[in-house]
Symmetry: C2
């Protein structure tokens, strides 16, 4: 069972396309967690306990842990261990957006897949296929290629026209036609541009998309779901971070978004 199959099985089990982004910025943690040895881990455990019923994937962005150095790395590892022990059915995604040459990619593979034990990782495409090969070869893992992002200046490079097509569409085609030979690729497609999401679905067929930008970043749920579903009424990992983890009641916020997504499936 590879990462995508693991995710789909969870989606069917709990009827949810929701991913919770564990972007547990140390400077924003509630006071009650600060006296623990690893505040980010204690906070994550609390979030997981409240949200797991509604959640098919957890996606920590590693930047928020690296900001705390070695202690942040340990907090993230403890989070992964907690998930492995208590919720082995939930997909784990390391939002790391790595992209380096092949030898270096091997080292990142050791870090992300082996030391932490993540199921999937987000990756940059700028160095081409040989830079991605060490990840792609891990057939049981998910390789989620950054394609169309949801930030304000996303279009600056991603919309440059190559043979009349925006660059991000060329990236999507490369993944579809060449890089996905082991069937373990996905795409990052931001939620803030529903037309682009629809186009990405056209290009990529049944491929699964990781969709950040719902909630705090402004993506509309109805439009996102209607534009992005694949033929199996799945194919989307819809991620919300700050909107859930820093909500007054994270469990309720997760349930609410899960239900809102399902309303349009």
């Amino acid at each position: 069972m590879n990462a995508i199959e693991k995710y789909n099985r969870r989606v069917d089990q709990i009827n949810s396309l929701l991913c919770v982004g564990l972007d547990s910025d140390y400077t924003q943690l509630p006071e009650q967690f600060m006296h623990y040895e690893y505040p980010q881990f204690s906070f994550n455990r609390w979030i997981i306990d409240q949200t797991h019923t509604y959640t098919s994937a957890y996606k920590p962005n590693i930047a928020f842990y690296e900001a705390r150095g070695d202690r942040g790395m340990m907090a993230l590892k403890l989070t992964l261990e907690y998930l492995h022990q208590n919720h082995p059915d939930i997909l784990t995604i390391c939002d790391a957006k790595r992209g380096d040459n092949g030898v270096t990619s091997l080292a990142y593979v050791s870090a992300i897949f082996d030391w932490f034990g993540f199921d999937a990782v987000t990756l940059h495409s700028y160095l081409g296929k040989d830079s991605l090969a060490p990840y792609l070869k891990r057939t049981e893992k998910g390789c989620i290629i950054v394609c169309r992002t949801s930030n304000p200046s996303a279009g600056e490079l991603q919309d440059l026209l190559v043979d009349g097509k925006p660059l991000w569409q060329i990236v999507a085609e490369k993944v579809r036609d060449d890089w996905n030979q082991n069937g373990n690729c996905m795409l990052v497609i931001g939620a803030t541009y529903p037309d682009d999401l629809r186009k990405a679905r056209e290009i990529a067929g049944e491929m699964t998309f990781l969709i950040p930008g719902v909630g705090a970043q402004g993506g509309d749920v109805a439009q996102t779901v209607q534009a992005g579903l694949n033929g199996a009424k799945k194919g989307m990992i819809i991620s919300s971070s700050r909107g859930i983890i820093f909500a007054e009641d994270p469990g309720a916020a997760a349930k609410e978004l899960r239900d809102e997504i399902n309303q349009y499936r």
Copy 2:
């Protein structure tokens, strides 16, 4: 004094354009370092002690430390502390190739510039200017944009034509015309394509280039230096990693490459 001025001062002081890449892969460390508490740090200290006389910049690729988790992070931090204490005149570059949205970039800034204390970082451009802004605002730090890499499949995306120009040249122009408003930008330009290096120099004027790929990756020193120097006979941070740190005599290997570079300046 910003990072580029720091580098140039060091270049003049010791007459060297050499950068040593501290890609200290744990699995390849000599046996003699394995009994230390932080083998990667002990190895780096040994490398620094032998090579600093010839070296204007040290560039650890953070992947090799992340592969060791929290202990790798600490080994890298100890390396930076050792450099700050003993060789404060030498530029420190975190080869991290980060590229994420603005909020996440702030967290990477905390990690790389503040927790580790690096002078400069390598960055991906795919998310555009707002994703780079948190780095660019740190006017004293160096922002080294990945432009033309030296790996075999570099051209797969980087050579795509946009308005008749390869994508990597568009990136170079964006850095020159827009992203370098604080004068703290540099470009990564691989050594394996001297014609591209010459073209990059044409586009980017006096800008400083980080040039990996000399040595193990096959870049020719004479061609690289002749193609890449700027008007001040500087403008290049020429990096060698495995060719120096895993040489039988790393100090001699550093001196030899420094001297070979100077032969063509």
